[in-house]
């Protein structure tokens, strides 16, 4: 769970960097998309790197979701009679949203791939093979932007708890100092990643990127 989660963290950081190329204009953005396909050439065939990344991510996703479902089921079996009154005293909102937030992310990932990778669904501009065009067309639709922003809230919450939780799972938070460091890293990553991803759709909607 922790390892696959940290693979995702690395991935979303790289992905966010790519998205922010949108601010450098159409050529830079599409150039980056093309660059990803040429990465590793001639050692790897065209798109080779991309396919390796896809296989690793897909395998991670399967393992991550499998672990999440196992934890969920174990928790349900571990307390079959609910409390009449139960207070949560000092835990974060994000820690309680890992499961429903994770499910939100899963649904989002399916939609996201349909939108930009597999289906290239483009409700506004019609079919196109120009990634930049597809992105601008999509985020000019307010409800598509809204879906993205909701998903980014879920991602921010997930990272806020997930990063520090991974530190615990890997046995790297054995003192107060280490605990504070990992908690802070979770907060920073949550804000940077959720914020960084949100910038592009918001900018398109506001007409800053067109």
């Amino acid at each position: 769970m922790a390892l696959t989660g940290l693979i995702f963290v690395g991935y979303v950081l790289a992905h966010m960097y790519g998205n922010l190329k949108a601010f450098a204009g159409e050529a830079a953005f599409n150039g980056y998309a093309e660059h990803l396909r040429e990465l590793g050439e001639p050692l790897l065939p065209y798109s080779g790197f991309l396919w390796i990344a896809r296989v690793v991510l897909l395998a991670s996703l399967v393992l991550h979701v499998y672990a999440a479902v196992t934890l969920w089921r174990r928790a349900r079996a571990a307390r079959t009679t609910k409390y009449v009154v139960k207070k949560n005293k000092h835990s974060s909102v994000s820690s309680h949203w890992m499961r429903w937030g994770g499910l939100t992310l899963l649904l989002f990932i399916v939609w996201h791939l349909l939108n930009f990778t597999v289906g290239k669904v483009n409700p506004q501009g019609g079919p196109t093979n120009n990634p930049y065009q597809l992105m601008v067309d999509s985020f000019e639709v307010w409800w598509l932007t809204l879906i993205y922003l909701v998903a980014m809230v879920a991602l921010g919450l997930h990272l806020h708890h997930g990063v520090w939780s991974a530190g615990q799972t890997l046995g790297l938070t054995n003192s107060v100092r280490q605990r504070v460091l990992w908690k802070r890293a979770g907060l920073v990553l949550a804000v940077v990643v959720a914020g960084g991803f949100s910038l592009v759709p918001i900018s398109v909607l506001l007409g800053v990127i067109s």
């Binding site: 079996a77 307390r79 820690s95």
Partner: protein, 247 residues
């Protein structure tokens, strides 16, 4: 003081049980929560009713028997055990809901009393050190660095009350496990069995039906002894080491 008490009553393990409401008057603010229940029980006995069964022993905050979920908080609103909780922590006229620990691994025996022998079985599966009997060794025969001794002592205060399990949304006993693993793992005497200890205790924990930890942290805020979350990281680290060594 006057209280409305909503208390879980259950005749036995098979009985579905339910909340019953009692009124109690003339409670002193200096009574402990258990003394308040004693008074209620006397009132019940006088009225020819079955008294409420609840666990308690030392009434000094050191044995960990007095396991009550009070208004949704393990051991009530203060960071202490139920026997050390006083009625002045509540306000006059308050409605107080009292329930047993809720965990599949802690089945209800009767009313508010649960069976916590799952913890004993976890201890028996590794939470000990094997030493030779006979003449006691010299006190200074095995030096222990101060930092290790301090950490071992701090987590050795775990009294096995089960509040961590009761408070955990996952019903996990990882804080208890971590306290025991860290306590023995910090000391030279605990090294020989370090790998088999963590492997055995975690296997027993899972076998008993406790949930998996997701580091939410409700356990540590419910713990009357303030066992910190880093013992769970230590538990995971020791487990990883044991697996690397082939366990």
């Amino acid at each position: 003081m006057k209280f409305t008490l909503k208390i879980w009553r259950q005749d036995g393990p098979q009985d579905p049980g339910g909340i019953r409401t009692y009124e109690l008057d003339e409670v002193s603010e200096d009574m402990s929560f258990l003394e308040m229940l004693d008074v209620l029980n006397e009132q019940l006995i006088a009225g020819d009713e079955e008294p409420i069964v609840f666990d308690h022993d030392c009434r000094e905050g050191i044995c960990g028997s007095c396991d009550l979920m009070i208004n949704g908080e393990a051991h009530g609103p203060e960071v202490t055990t139920t026997c050390q909780l006083h009625m002045r922590s509540f306000h006059d006229g308050e409605t107080i809901t009292v329930e047993p620990w809720r965990a599949t691994a802690f089945p209800v025996i009767k009313d508010l009393m649960v069976d916590r022998s799952a913890f004993d079985r976890i201890i028996a599966s590794g939470g000990f050190v094997s030493v030779n009997t006979g003449a006691a060794p010299d006190a200074h025969a095995t030096p222990v660095p101060k930092e290790n001794a301090d950490r071992a002592f701090d987590v050795a205060t775990c009294i096995g009350c089960g509040a961590c399990v009761a408070a955990c949304p996952n019903g996990s006993a990882s804080l208890f496990l971590g306290a025991k693993i860290t306590h023995l793992g910090e000391l030279p005497q605990g090294q020989a069995e370090r790998d088999s200890r963590v492997a055995g205790m975690v296997a027993q924990h899972d076998h008993e039906g406790f949930g998996g930890c997701t580091n939410i942290g409700e356990c540590t805020s419910a713990c009357p002894k303030g066992i910190p979350l880093d013992v769970i990281s230590q538990l995971n680290k020791d487990l990883r080491t044991a697996i690397k060594h082939g366990h």
